[in-house]
Symmetry: D2
Subunit: 229 residues, 4 copies
């Protein structure tokens, strides 16, 4: 599902040669879903201001599941030889235990159900980041993690990566909990080139997985998904 080399033809007209070059410059730690027509359609519905909330949630959930499936694909697997019902042996793969999800509130919470749809008992932590009323500085107000998060791989969920500030703030608290930078995969639906650059510059070992890299991202996502300000 991943295609770092061949940008989708349909996007060709939207992005000049320079932009495409830039995308490839992010290096191997940016992972993009291959943008097929059906994914492009999901992105279109999510960006469209005339989409009803019911449709928005349905299409967003589909895109989230596809990003989550690819996120799971980035986690470690090990060889697993099983026996089939007819007694044959089959050289398969098994997902390694020891992962968890962490959502950055509020919009990241929209991705929790998608994660559970694919991994029904994955532990899901949560981080709340707000501006301090006095200093106006972004601050972690609340964090709830699995107790052994330092030994787990982390799928960090945040659908719209714009400046990257929230993800970087979330990384601070994760590092304080002894999570290895290289064990974190950011799952995001839409990301800006600047946001990706900022995050990867500060944290060169983490991976970012997104369905689209674009200067304009649908900032209304959380508001529309939950119907709140």
């Amino acid at each position: 599902m991943v295609d770092l080399i061949e940008p989708d033809l349909l996007l060709h007209s939207l992005m000049g040669q320079q932009h495409q070059q830039m995308i490839n410059d992010f290096g191997p730690n940016l992972i993009r879903l291959q943008v097929t027509n059906q994914i492009k359609e999901l992105q279109t519905v999510i960006r469209d201001r005339n989409t009803s909330r019911s449709d928005f949630i349905f299409y967003a959930d589909r895109l989230i599941r596809l990003v989550v499936e690819e996120g799971l694909n980035q986690l470690p697997y090990q060889q697993h030889i099983i026996i089939t019902p007819t007694g044959g042996s089959y050289d398969g793969l098994r997902y390694e235990e020891g992962n968890c999800g962490v959502s950055i509130m509020r919009s990241g919470e929209a991705m929790e159900q998608g994660l559970r749809d694919c991994c029904r008992s994955m532990r899901i932590g949560k981080i709340l980041i707000m501006s301090d009323e006095e200093t106006h500085e972004a601050k972690v107000f609340y964090a709830k993690f699995p107790p052994d998060i330092h030994s787990r791989k982390v799928l960090l969920m945040y659908p719209i990566l714009c400046t990257g500030n929230s993800v970087m703030k979330a990384m601070e608290i994760l590092l304080q909990h002894s999570v290895d930078e290289e064990k974190v995969i950011v799952l995001t639906l839409f990301a800006t080139p600047d946001g990706i650059h900022s995050v990867l510059q500060r944290h060169p070992q983490i991976r970012i997985l997104t369905s689209e890299v674009h200067n304009v991202v649908p900032l209304h996502f959380g508001q529309k998904y939950f119907g709140t300000d």
Copy 2:
């Protein structure tokens, strides 16, 4: 998500050069999901005789959704320019109306919910094929279609394509209903090389989409999914 040229590296050791060559010989009408680790894991769980029914259904549903998403990707889209909430215009895609699903009983019915999870009001027809008690010949006993199926694209659902006989029998009744061969996409999870060859030889215009081509296919699929003989 589609990769016709580069077989997955993990499969490399399983399949000799000859087998790989054969896969590529199916031509452009065989569409294979790119076999990532996570898809390989889903296939492993489905093939494992020790998998509980509850897990079997959960993992099968995940693989079905991925096949359905890629199936939807094969359908026609058209350019669709929308306006974003900030007033910008976005050059997107829209799924073209005029499709339907048809499941071949019984195992194909396991794919109906996955189709509805991705396309909540798609019309879903159904075909029952059984052996005639006297002649022992495969015969269509029951068929229920959207009334205007001749003007629709058809996602023909059958999870295990082994000999290809059921799919070919289903094609007979679809052709009798004036469905164009080239409008049919067979959605299947596991397919044998022989089955694919037989179907494509008889119906060179239809497309077959599968997550794996392998001589051994999990024939216990429907029985385990539904828990019936």
Copy 3:
């Protein structure tokens, strides 16, 4: 959730004293969901010809789940003392194993997912009844059951019970498979008084569970749910 004595006040104006009397005359083997406002709303949406297919499926699925939950409630339970996380003991109940679902095609299949939503690995069998082309008599064309169905309780699913003929035909094949009449619970959304009478007269031991008893039932149910003729 069951209320055999006190008909809902909202229905009072719709049904004369005579009709109410008749409802109570069905005896203890007719089980009616208590018709609350929210259930009445679900019934209204399903009956409304202006309901979109997407809404129809969503509301039908809600009503189906409520009927299924009450159906599960009719199955046998046994005392089950468990230990809580704080070490206390709790005198609870456990669902007894040994049940299965059977859907009567085609409309009954709409209830399969609802059953799975409540009971994720329940085995689900299926019966196809059609008119013989020559004799025009209703005939079982296809039946697929769990191999040990004779030792199981059966939730027989058919959303619209009108004449009762399909249910009675299904009972014939179940009895041939040595299912005890008293082990069958018919799960239906809408039922006519005549249909209920016919079924209970022929099979006095089976139970019928419905959300509404009314002379007019939404016969378009299966067609609208699946979008086929």
Copy 4:
């Protein structure tokens, strides 16, 4: 589904005459689900310390949906005459617009998906209450509501009502947003008599809907559902 008068027979042995009396003393603003065998089973699985996380989530989601359905039933409906596909008129009910859900973090969030399963575009707000680090007083740290919440009915979601402090703190912030006390329905799975008394004493107009009133409530709910401390 509501039964204020006749306590379930199965609970009879668990609770003495005195306890039953007390339950009835809560007045009409305490609404209890009728405790059927299947609901008692769901409660048992949730209380059992040996339940796996996967089962816990599945059974909790079922109980949540039943509480949500009854919560929706408590909202206002209006008469709605519709036309059936055969041209008949049907005297039905329609759900009145103007409601929203609000979850109290963290455990209340477990109920959000259940609400969305029944009401797919209902707006869902959120409240975070924590102890102030210095004063140790409970404090609202975060609240996100639909902009027009003052004109909406509110389903306030919190699965385990123990002391009632969180619900009362949540009420403070709701009242500050001009929500009418009488427009609030607390949806909870398990509640203590003391907690109910405290909440109803302070806010006599709000309604509390629960599946069980018991001195011991499963305080591990949120931790087990999400797998975090």
